[in-house]
Every structure is written in structure tokens, then in C-alpha cells.
Symmetry: C2
């Protein structure tokens, strides 16, 4: 491993202002992948990112067509055949911003306040895209080389379930050869404690559409004899999960790997102030699957949530109709070893079974993603832990995240690569919600962690990653 | 009773084109009372109507302030103290038009097609407003007088539960003295058979608001431990009504007057082709309260329907959040002798009881209206029946409407007046739904029915209405 690198540290200190301006420029692009009207913004973000990668000194920067929002690729492969090759992943697309009236600032007009960068994507995941670019830039600017071979993939469809990524990975298997993958789309543990994520949940996201009468009907003239699609939808949604928090879809739990005693001890050992957490999100009571702790429920057990529902009249005042149709977006978080496609089929079968006569019910697939569990004792994981400890001054915790990064499983299954989840988001970043923000210390120190990580990997014995 | 009036008939034949133009002009005003932004349109409609009443020869035409959308008043009181005095009611406000994309024509650009007037309000209730104006105009133009004393009240808040009407009626009791009231806001029976409505349902319209976490939460990071407001709302809505169609709110049925054997025989005698009716609304199965027929369920039994529901993300694609809040508009149709305020209290108590910990639940009152039952054998009802038979060539059926016209109960309770529900809308008018229309034969013949009705009332023995 190289000695502490004062030249690079000085470079990073000197370029802070320019780096933050670039980060803000990047947030200004409303690259909301889930809303078709923002497709041009996604493409613009991809173009800007490719330019930044080139400027940083990386090579072969390219906006790659996928059939959807593009992937941005770049590499630097001059560390020699003995040096590790790492595939780096983050995503440049962001979540929608509604309800926009709940933001205390304009989501695409970034600003720095109280040591945080504000804006949609400031944390998830534009911060980590920028951190990787800046870490490489600093190394190349001060040393003229990187200690490892790096291939970068920045995706534009992570927030809309990565529809085209698997196909693109398959088609580019050759050029993506690597020893392992680093995915930077996770964060620190509550209390902003440095952490490495070792588990991610998968997802099965559906839309349930209920169609009733041809048109909205007068609820006075027809009410009492016609099946109300909104009422039917509520009943079906309610039937999906019991009051004990257990999902009632037959077969749902069949493939779930039960938590071992050791798993449960590890969860119990994590520092967690439930009262402070409840206070932060503004609720005075919790609920969940019987027999599991808060942390287990949120990361190691599958769930089912309504993400959106709509039917009939939603404006001000009363309107007396039986809605012609009703819709709900419902997603399940999955854990190892549930198969999303099997869960989708189980939901479809159950919904068909409980759909009442008098309405037509359809279950649309809005996206599937595999769950993932990664090994703590892999040398790439342990090198990441050393880089974190060297830069943040504290050894990382190991925990499971409740969210889904389907590409993790894609890298594992499609490319056959081990995955290290190295992420720096502060836990109170309000990802996906109004008032998203990123703690700038995580951003700045994280850039140094990434650079240190490449040095740590280069210092491993030759072949250590090829076990 | 006066002899058949050829002069008036000729006048009506000669003025048809002008009358239809006025009717179309009136539909062009988007007087949607339930949407605050349309308040100026309601006021404009009121002003136009007052002008038309004056032009028709009626007196004291006035746009009266109510605290909400105005009431339009006019009268003609020169038939003498022995002649009956009739209070006439219809409403100039209309329902919202969404989902506007389901209309096959622009809702506020009326047109005549296949013997129908097309447009929002073409039937409910601008047709009947215009019919009363034109009937009075024809009599005054050809005879210089009306056979009875008439007072007109045209309301602008019927479609948003008549919030200010009761107060206005109370404040104007003196000037509204009459023998009975005619309300024109109902229609013919299925098959477009002439009918007089003898029962109306009341209403209790609420909005259930469920508040959870302060902001939308990432469903991956929080899902499994946080109470989802949308899921909670679905469960509460589902708990309101059982699969047997019975409303589960304790006390809900306490005051319902049971149907007598005679009532049920009358319902059974009504012509009704259920298969054709199902085909018309586009459903292949029905449901409702066990033990009652279709017609009973829709008019003589109370109901509960979701009129609208919304929470979380409702745009295209997936968004992975736990919504911070969820809302449903829920209305109950009530029958004699249910009291809307008592039902509201019962719903509030039940919702409070079933609301889960972890969310805050509120039940807003969006409007209450009393149910009504009117006597078939009242001389004013029987005179209406003779007028219908003389003009439409067929004696009317007597039936109960499932909808609510709260003013009916207001006239009964506030002004102490018997009420005759004389309405002409074709049953397939799609009131409250996209593609509303009015059969022009009902409109034209109905104008003649109204004129004939005034003659029939004038022919009653003096004092016949003051039983």
C-alpha cells in the first residue's frame, strides 16, 4: 500500500469549491427516470456525466444505448494485469419529487445549508456518482495513474427497477470483466455511523387495476347494487396482509431463509434508538410482522406496502359517484432466497382468487429485483472496512439494508461477480421523500475513502481476489 | 281547468329554436359548485338565469346572497288569493367533469345529436331550470297571466350538499309562503317511462384522512415496521361494510323504517329489465345487501360507497414510498327515518375505534342531507299525475329515487311544505358521469306538462291543497 498521500490530500482540499459546483450542476438536471416526460433530462445527465468522466482522465467514456435511459460507461485499465480490476456502479437517475408542495426548497435548485447539500438526488445517488468521479480525478491528477484497473457503470434506471440493465450487462459481459463489483448506492447506519451493507432486499412491484362500470355512476341512483371498484380494491389490498403483519399470499414465505440465532444476535448488537427513530419520522406507534424486531422487520424480513392508490374524485368537496375504476401500486420487499417472478405469480393467483364478481381485475408487473446477501469475510469487503476506518476514524458496522438495488443481484447472477456495497449516504438523507439532503462530510471524506480503497486493494497479495 | 290551449301550443312550437339556443348557452357556463375555482361561473349562471326569468315576464327576479353560491329567486303572484301558491325548485349548478378524457365531446360545448342535448348539466339540472322558465314564458306570452301563484328558487349548491340553502330558507320564510313545493330534479323510470318520485335518499358524506409519518418514507428502508397510512385506510374502508353488503357501523340501521309487504309489492310491480340495465352500465355481476332486490337496494335501503380515494404516488411507473398520508371520500345514502347527523357521529365513533395505532385519523363532514318520503295521494301529486298523462299519454309510475335532494327535506322541515317531485330526466342521462345528455322529447313535452300542471292545480276546488 502506498504511503499517506499528502499531494492528493492537498489537491482535494484545493478543488473543493469547484467539486461542489459540479455536484450542484448535476443535481440541477431533473433526471427522474420513472416519469416518461423526463427522459430527455436523463439523457442530458448521462451526457454531462460522460464528459466529466473524460475530463477526470478516465477513458472510453460513452453514453451507451440500452433501449431505455442510457448507461454511462468509462474505464481506466493501465494498472497492469496483476492489479485487481474493479467494476464500479452508481446511478444518475432520481426519484420523482411529488408531493412537491412539501419540500421546503425547490428540489432541483441545490443549495448548501448546515453542512448539507440540499436537492433531489443530492444523496440518492448523485452524491456517490460524483464521489467516484472526483476520487479518480484526484488520483489521476496527482499521480498520473490509478493503483487498480477500474470500469465504471452509471445507470439511469435504478429508480424504475432497472428494466434494461440486465440485457445491457449480458450484451457487454466481455468488456465488463472484473474481479468484483463495488456498488455505491447505500448509506451509513443510524446515527451516521460508518457501515458496510451486507444484505439488500429484492422487490416485486405491481399495479392492481380494478375496472367496474363503463363510466362513473351516480352513487345515489346506482349505489347499493353495483360493485364499487374502489371498495373492491380496498378489500383486496386489505386481504394481502393480515393484522399480524404476515403477508397472506399463499406461498409467499416458502423460500425465505429463516434468520439464524447468529443473525439475530448480530441484529441485536446494532446500536439503535427506536424512540429517536420514531421521533425523526414523526410516528407514535409502530407495527410489523409479529415475532421480529424493528431492524429485522426492515431489512431481513419481506414486506408488502401500498405505494400509491387512486380512484374516483380526489378534488375538493364532495362528488357523488361510484368510480368506474380503481388502482393501487403495491410492492413487496423480498429477502434471500425469494424469487421475484415466483412472488409475482403468487400475487397474481391470489388476487384473481379474491377478486369479487362484478369487476375485472388485472395485476401489472411494474418491476422485479432479486434480493442479495454478500460475504463479510471477502478480502474486498475487508479492504473496504480498512479504508473506512483509515478515513472516518472508526471501523464500520455490518448490516442489512431494507431497500432494493436489483443490480446487486444482476452483478452476482449475470456477471458472476462478488459485490461490495460501499455507500456513504447519511441515514437521515430523506431519499425518495421531500427535502432530500446529503451530509457534506460524508461526501468529502467518502471521496478520500474511495481513493484509499483503491490503494488498499492494490496492496493485497496478487490473486487474493481470485479465490 | 282551462280548455286545451292551442295558442300556447303554437307559441311553443314557434319558439323551439330560440329556446334550444338559450338552453345551450346555459350549459356553456361551467357552473361546477363543488370546485372553488368555478365560483365565478356559478355566479355568472345565476345572473343569466335572473335575466331570463325577467325576460319571461316573471317578477322580482333577484340573485340572492347566501354566503356561498347564490340562490336565484323570482315570482308571479297575481293569480289571486284563492289560487294555489306553488314554490318551484331546481338547481343551476352542475357536477365536476373529471375524468374529462372519458367524454366523447367537450362537456361545456353543448350540441344536439340523435334527439338529445349533450353536455354537463344538459340533464342534471339545467334542463329542468330551463323548462320551468319556458313554461312560464309561454303562458305569460300567450295569456298575459299564470293560473297559479308561483315562487321560484333556483339553487347553486345542490351538487355540493346545499350548505347555505337551509339558512337562506330560514331567513326568507315569509317571502316563501306557499301551499306546497314542486322540486324538479328527478327523472323518469328505466325505459324512459313517465314517473313521479315519492322517495329520496338522504346522505352523509365524509372524508377520512389518515396521517402517518411526517414525510413520505422510502419503502425499502422503512417498510415492515411503519404503519402504512394507505394500507390502514384500505383496512378501515373495508371494515365499514361487510361482504354481505351490510354496513358495519354500530347503530347504522337503528332508525331505518323497514319495508312493508305493500312497499315490497310496489317495488316488485315496477317494470325492470336487470340484464339490460347491467348491459347499459357495463357490468357482468351485481352485489348488494343480502335479502333485497336491485330496486330496493338502490332506493329504499341505505348504502355506503367510496366516491374517491388517494394516497402516495399515482403517476406512471413505480415509486417506492410509504405515503405520509391517505384519504378517502365515503358517502352513505340514507333512508327514512335515518338522521344524517346521528349517522355522522356513528361513523366517527366507529372509525376512531378501528383506527390503528401509529396513524392519526380524522373524519371530515363534507355534507349531510335528510331522506324524504312524499305522499302519493296528495292532491298536488295527483294533479301532477294528470298533467303527465295528458301530455305524455301515459299515467306515471310511482317510485323511489336512490339519489339525494337534501332540499326536499329542507322544504318539509324548514318551511313545513309538502313536496311533489316532478322531474323529466331520461334514466340514461349519465348524470354525474361523462357524456351526460337529455332526451329532447322529455324536455319539450315536459315544458307542456309543467304548463298543464299549473292549469290542473288551478282547477282544483278552492282549499283542496290546504288540508
Amino acid at each position: 500500500m502506498s504511503a499517506p498521500d499528502d499531494v492528493m490530500a492537498a489537491y482535494l482540499d484545493a478543488t473543493r469549491e469547484r467539486r461542489l459546483q459540479r455536484y450542484m450542476d448535476f443535481i440541477r438536471i431533473p433526471s427522474i427516470s420513472g416519469i416518461p416526460a423526463h427522459a430527455p433530462d436523463c439523457r442530458r445527465a448521462a451526457g454531462v456525466l460522460a464528459s466529466e468522466l473524460s475530463e477526470a482522465g478516465l477513458e472510453h467514456a460513452e453514453v451507451c444505448e440500452t433501449g431505455g435511459h442510457p448507461v454511462v460507461y468509462a474505464d481506466w485499465l493501465h494498472a497492469g494485469p496483476e492489479a485487481p480490476t474493479v467494476l464500479v456502479y452508481a446511478h444518475y437517475d432520481v426519484q420523482p419529487v411529488d408531493p412537491v408542495e412539501l419540500w421546503s426548497y425547490a428540489p432541483f435548485e441545490p443549495a448548501i445549508r448546515d453542512g448539507r447539500m440540499l436537492g433531489r438526488g443530492s444523496s440518492d445517488d448523485k452524491a456517490q456518482v460524483q464521489m467516484h468521479v472526483r476520487a479518480a480525478e484526484a488520483m489521476l491528477a496527482t499521480r498520473g495513474a490509478l493503483p487498480v484497473n477500474l470500469r465504471y457503470i452509471f445507470e439511469g434506471e435504478e429508480e424504475c427497477t432497472s428494466e434494461h440493465l440486465d440485457g445491457w450487462l449480458q450484451a457487454n459481459r466481455e468488456r465488463l470483466a472484473a474481479d468484483f463489483a463495488v456498488i455505491s448506492d447505500t448509506g451509513f447506519f443510524d446515527g451516521n455511523l460508518p457501515a458496510i451493507t451486507v444484505g439488500l432486499r429484492g422487490i416485486c412491484y405491481v399495479q392492481i387495476d380494478v375496472e367496474g362500470p363503463t363510466v362513473d355512476l351516480h352513487s345515489g341512483s346506482y349505489g347499493g347494487a353495483v360493485v364499487n371498484p374502489a371498495t373492491a380494491l380496498c378489500a383486496m389490498v386489505t386481504a394481502l396482509k393480515g393484522p399480524d403483519g404476515r403477508i397472506r399470499v399463499p406461498g409467499f414465505y416458502d423460500d425465505v431463509v429463516p434468520l439464524s440465532e447468529r443473525d439475530r444476535e448480530a441484529f441485536a448488537a446494532l446500536p439503535f434508538d427506536e424512540a429517536a427513530w420514531m421521533d425523526e419520522i414523526g410516528v407514535d406507534a409502530l407495527a410489523g410482522e409479529a415475532g421480529y424486531t424493528n431492524l429485522e422487520r426492515r431489512s431481513a424480513r419481506p414486506t408488502l406496502d401500498v405505494n400509491g392508490i387512486w380512484a374516483g374524485f380526489t378534488g375538493d368537496g364532495p362528488k357523488t359517484i361510484i368510480p368506474a375504476h380503481a388502482h393501487a401500486k403495491v410492492s413487496c420487499r423480498l429477502v434471500a432466497n425469494q424469487e421475484p417472478a415466483k412472488i409475482l405469480a403468487a400475487i397474481r393467483a391470489f388476487v384473481a382468487e379474491i377478486a369479487p364478481p362484478g369487476v375485472r381485475v388485472r395485476v401489472q408487473d411494474l418491476g422485479l429485483g432479486l434480493p442479495s446477501l454478500t460475504p463479510i469475510d471477502h478480502p474486498a469487503t475487508q479492504a473496504a472496512a480498512r479504508a473506512i476506518e483509515a478515513t472516518f476514524g472508526r471501523a464500520p458496522l455490518y448490516y442489512r439494508e431494507g431497500g432494493s438495488i436489483p443490480v446487486t443481484a444482476s452483478f452476482e447472477s449475470t456477471l458472476g461477480l462478488p459485490v461490495v456495497l460501499l455507500g456513504f449516504a447519511n441515514p437521515d438523507s430523506r431519499a425518495h421523500a421531500p427535502d432530500e439532503s446529503m451530509v457534506l462530510n460524508n461526501f468529502e471524506t467518502g471521496i478520500r475513502t474511495i481513493a484509499r480503497y483503491w490503494d488498499e486493494l492494490a496492496a493485497l497479495p496478487v490473486g487474493a481476489l481470485r479465490l
